[in-house]
Symmetry: C2
Subunit: 143 residues, 2 copies
């Protein structure tokens, strides 16, 4: 993910204003967890800016998605959207026990979909998710 300063520059260049709230959100994202939910970002930003509104967090995250600086990642069975600060193509490992979501740095060649199988879709990107159990969850619930 880009640095907080890069995002400040990007927002400025887009004609968007730089507020203390946005700066705090940028900083939280730049140092923060890999796949936070909006609520997690909110809580972390709140530590330094206790009066920030949840709305501001949601709005700013949405701006960042629109600008391509964040990617939405869905999380089966936890109903909250997560935001991925890693916008490059990469894949995920999801723990069915504790819902941990970690990056996989493994690129899979030959993931092109043959014309015939693409059903006329224009494909923008693809995402591989591996579902399983993390070491901790294997221990606590062995099978």
């Amino acid at each position: 993910m880009k640095s907080a300063e890069d995002m400040v520059a990007l927002f400025r260049q887009q004609g968007l204003k730089i507020t203390p709230q946005r700066r705090a959100i940028f900083e939280t994202l730049a140092e923060g967890a890999v796949h936070p939910s909006a609520e997690e970002v909110y809580r972390r930003v709140q530590e330094g800016l206790p009066d920030i509104s949840r709305m501001t967090v949601y709005n700013t995250l949405r701006e960042l998605v629109a600008l391509g600086e964040l990617v939405e990642v869905e999380d089966v069975s936890s109903s909250a959207m997560r935001y991925d600060t890693e916008t490059g193509n990469h894949h995920h490992l999801f723990c069915l026990g504790c819902h941990a979501l970690v990056d996989v740095d493994q690129s899979f060649e030959a993931l092109e979909l043959p014309q015939a199988a693409a059903a006329g879709y224009r494909i923008v990107r693809h995402q591989v998710t591996f579902y399983g159990y993390c070491p901790t969850c294997q221990k606590s619930n062995p099978r």
Copy 2:
């Protein structure tokens, strides 16, 4: 997906009761849409059983997931869970415009994750999702 009768048998074998509501849900799933939401299942079942409770639909879908007869599939940006009646390993094509979700019958070899990349996870399954625009959405919003 298995037939409604198979699911009746499965429920019975699990000591679960067979009610007209459950039977109707099984039948709806067996003939029905490929990746319905709970609400869609509810509406279709309602046609034959107007007084069924939404709760019964949710509960039965949850049972079916627990028994491995349905798989939850998340739908970026539409907040409703979808249920996949196809429990075998297969992949998806998702339209970012209209949220259509269709199956891809293409198996990708070499999607094993090397031990080193798996971070100690015991992997159960994996899922490739291709994001793009369906033919209709390409026409209405060409780019």
